[in-house]
């Protein structure tokens, strides 16, 4: 079995940028992605703040371009899930569904995933009105009512996108103001299809076979209410995809990978890049920068072992 110079775990913008840099530096490199090349980027309708694309770009298109660019230099991508890792051996091992892969160094770029609301009805009605991907499912809600849960950038961006299809978009947010960027706030307050339910949390999602209503509770007054709706789009935050690494590297209390300024983790020869590492910025642009830096650090490490 081939022992690679470098294993990259995760195929979002951080992993793809790392793959490009590593393949172009002529390292033998394998990228492992469990679900979707492009990661969370690929489910974003429009990315307006990634430099070089003056009119913005869809997330899927950007993902395909990044992938093509890396593959042009010989990056190999395997679609499989990492079941376990062993970073204590000199040749670090990653166990996939169909066997083991080894590398002399590794980059963790597994990103984050949307957090669930954790209320009754959410799992049961997934795909029947409960969604986490406006780009995928928005068009099914033409002239229908939609509730978006959350108040950050993702929530408001997707609510604006959904307002193109829906007859009404109700934003349910647990605070009395939005966390989203000013420009998004302005757009959403000027959007005639959008209205806001402040200081409220969802307590259950109801419906027989498909979503019909949402129960909410006002956190200040304790009052409950029901909102009739056809769809619920959930954007209440994210969780780092680090469960599989928790015994091998140091994580912070929220599960993000702790790194030094060169992106080295607590395990020798293992680096972390993108949303999965501690740090305030969760952007395509910062993830790409991380991918490049992680490879430069990994190369330096490989030269010295």
């Amino acid at each position: 079995m081939t022992n690679h110079d470098l294993l990259i775990i995760g195929g979002g913008p951080a992993g793809l940028a790392a793959g490009l840099y590593a393949a172009r530096a002529r390292l033998s490199v394998l990228l492992i992605e469990k679900e979707m090349v492009g990661g969370q980027m690929a489910t974003t309708e429009l990315i307006e703040n990634y430099p070089g694309f003056s009119e913005g770009s869809s997330g899927v298109e950007l993902a395909e371009k990044m992938r093509e660019q890396a593959e042009r230099f010989g990056l190999r991508i395997e679609l499989d899930e990492v079941m376990s890792v062993d970073f204590t051996r000199p040749e670090m091992a990653v166990t996939l569904g169909d066997g083991e892969r080894t590398g002399r160094a590794a980059i963790i770029a597994t990103g984050r995933r949307p957090q669930l609301l954790g209320v009754p009805g959410e799992i049961e009605l997934r795909g029947r009105g409960v969604s986490y991907c406006a780009t995928c499912d928005g068009p099914f809600f033409r002239d229908k009512r939609i509730v978006v849960v959350g108040g950050g950038n993702s929530a408001i961006e997707e609510a604006l996108y959904l307002s193109r299809f829906a007859s009404e978009v109700v934003v349910v947010h647990r605070r009395d103001k939005l966390r989203a960027d000013r420009v998004l706030q302005e757009r959403s307050f000027n959007n005639k299809k959008m209205r806001f339910v402040w200081d409220s949390v969802v307590t259950s999602i109801e419906g027989d076979g498909k979503v019909e209503a949402l129960a909410v509770r006002n956190v200040k007054t304790g009052k409950t209410a029901s909102i009739a709706t056809d769809g619920v789009f959930v954007y209440v935050g994210n969780l780092p995809n680090t469960e599989v690494f928790k015994d091998e590297i140091e994580l912070d209390e929220r599960g993000y990978v702790i790194v030094d300024p060169e992106l080295a983790t607590s395990a020798r020869g293992v680096f972390a890049a993108g949303d999965v590492r501690v740090g305030p910025a969760k952007q395509v642009a910062t993830a790409v920068g991380d991918g490049a830096l992680a490879v430069i650090s990994a190369e330096r490490y490989l030269e010295n072992v």
Binding site: G127, F140, G209
Partner: protein, 109 residues
């Protein structure tokens, strides 16, 4: 498209899926959906290994809104397995091949 996955439409859904003597798995998809593009090679791979046990079909929900609405598809990709004309199993979202096969293990053995 692979030889083991065929396309179905509103027009021939009844004949090709509902009246099929074998179980038939239908992938409800659309070109604008990122996760669908990811799921389709997985479906093709599973189809190439298991085409003796069931049929594998895909239905473009943009071009065939009637069937998508009839089965209340509100998220894509949605996969529905039909057996003797009835939906018997349904799951949603792109997933690695192992999990995909696990969803169908009753039928794929």
């Amino acid at each position: 498209m692979s030889e083991n996955v065929f396309e179905v439409s509103d027009g021939d859904f009844e004949a090709k899926v509902i009246k099929s003597s074998k179980p038939a798995l239908v992938d409800f998809w659309a070109p604008w959906c990122g996760p669908c593009r990811v799921a389709s090679p997985v479906v093709e791979q599973v189809a190439s290994e298991h085409h003796d046990k069931m049929l594998f079909a895909k239905l473009n929900v943009d071009e065939n809104p009637k069937t998508a609405a009839e089965f209340e598809v509100l998220s894509i990709p949605t996969f529905i397995l039909f057996e003797k004309g009835k939906p018997v199993k349904r799951f949603v979202g792109a997933m690695p091949k192992d999990r995909f096969v696990a969803e169908l293990k009753t039928w794929l053995g």
